[in-house]
């Protein structure tokens, strides 16, 4: 299975009926494709919409209805639009139940870096800092390693997105939680051993006796 699809499928299982969910750009966007049809989830687009629907059919897009990347989207029945102050009031105020974001690095305590590579990539933090500071639950969806280089590290050498730790990291190899402020291996991907995960994880990992396999 495609690594991105493993991640998206597994993250989708974290969503509960009634959740207000904000998905970041990249792998997180794919999560919407794997939400069971009977699960009533509200997706927020931080440019001002709750109730984002699929990409509209050819010829049905409206230029004033887009996602945060400026791409045409649709709105489901019961959608709501609002200004940016409200959008970030929802985010920072803890009204977003789950946010799923991409990551460059996550440290041993769950702190995320995902907005800047000094001297190289300075696009700006957009809404990421508010999402990590404010959402009830923050899930990072990313590849476990970049070209063999661990992304779950002892200490981030990239600038942090927030001092607040994330709740869960879901990669193509593992699910890692930070319940007691320590990176803890919770699940491995199908066919991946604990040793293989450890080999590409720089942060010290708490490894409980029983590590179930992801059910995807």
């Amino acid at each position: 299975m495609d690594p991105q699809i493993i991640i998206a499928r597994r993250v989708a299982q974290e969503l509960k009926s009634g959740n207000l969910v904000n998905l970041g750009i990249g792998i997180p966007t794919l999560v919407a494709n794997y939400v069971p049809a009977d699960l009533k989830v509200f997706f927020q687009s931080e440019n001002g919409l709750i109730g984002t629907g699929p990409i509209p059919e050819q010829g049905m897009a409206h230029p004033l209805l887009t996602d945060a990347g400026g791409r045409p989207i649709s709105a489901l029945p019961g959608a709501a639009t609002f200004d940016s102050a409200m959008s970030f009031g929802l985010i920072r105020g803890g009204h977003v139940d789950v946010t799923v974001l991409g990551g460059l690095q996550v440290d041993a305590h769950g702190r995320l870096a995902n907005w800047m590579i000094p001297g190289k990539m300075v696009p700006g933090m957009g809404g990421a800092m508010d999402l990590v500071s404010g959402a009830k639950r923050v899930i990072v969806a990313m590849q476990h390693a970049a070209k063999g280089k661990p992304k779950i590290v002892k200490k981030c050498n990239l600038p942090l997105t927030s001092a607040r730790p994330v709740h869960l990291v879901v990669t193509d190899m593992a699910v890692i939680g930070f319940a007691d402020g320590k990176a803890t291996l919770l699940e491995t991907a199908p066919g991946i051993s604990v040793a293989e995960v450890m080999a590409v994880t720089e942060a010290e990992l708490v490894v409980p006796d029983d590590i179930p396999e992801m059910k995807i």
Partner: protein, 216 residues
């Protein structure tokens, strides 16, 4: 009292070097006609306050194409390579702000507040040079108010008095910026008689609008 003016007249009031807020999110909900005219009249050295740099050829992207921006306050510029080049070449002085703080600072400027206390950015690069203020033992950053000389706003409907409504995700920063500038200039998709917009649907009340750009 709102005045209806041509786009040429409106932009002629904006001096080179002015501070200008522009509504829109990735070019959606942006007053394109005002931006085209800023380029035509070659208003250089602008201090631009806008969520993002859009893309070349679209929205405020046009101001970067024409190298009219010398200062930028924004939340991300990742999708405009020209803006990034001008930043890396030190042609633009740039201040990157988390999106929730960006909109609250503008709201504060428009609502007579000196600033707000936000958890966003605590313990990150964003905290550099900012005051940390504790409330009930929790640390917050003091984000101070922003105002501009001009706000360029794009509405969906404007009535003859200047009442405005916005459509879908084109609302974004427009109503917040319409409160935070000395002079507010508006373009609208449709200009309609007074009474067409129901009182409960007005987002920006007429007294906030200084100039409405006429059709044609």
């Amino acid at each position: 009292m709102m005045r209806a003016v041509s786009v040429e007249e409106a932009v002629a009031m904006i001096p080179a070097g002015a501070s200008v807020m522009v509504g829109g999110f990735m070019g959606v909900g942006t007053p394109e006609r005002l931006l085209d005219e800023l380029v035509r009249q070659q208003k250089t050295g602008l201090s631009l306050i806008c969520n993002d740099a859009a893309t070349p050829g679209k929205g405020v992207g046009k101001l970067f194409d024409a190298t009219l921006v010398s200062r930028l306050t924004a939340t991300h510029i990742g999708l405009n390579p020209k803006a990034q080049q001008q930043m890396l070449a030190n042609q633009i002085n740039i201040d990157l702000v988390p999106q929730g703080s960006f909109v609250e600072r503008i709201r504060a400027g428009g609502c007579g507040l000196g600033g707000v206390l936000t958890p966003t950015g605590v313990g990150t690069l964003v905290a550099d040079g900012k005051r940390l203020i504790e409330v009930d033992g929790e640390p917050f950053l003091l984000e101070t108010a922003i105002r501009a000389q001009f706000a360029l706003v794009h509405a969906f409907l404007a009535d003859y008095l200047g009442n405005l409504t916005y459509a879908l995700t084109a609302r974004n920063f427009n109503p917040i910026m319409a409160m935070a500038a000395d002079t507010v200039i508006v373009t609208a998709e449709h200009i309609v008689p007074v009474g067409v917009i129901a009182p409960d649907h007005v987002i920006t009340p007429a007294p906030l609008v200084d100039y409405l750009i006429t059709n044609g």
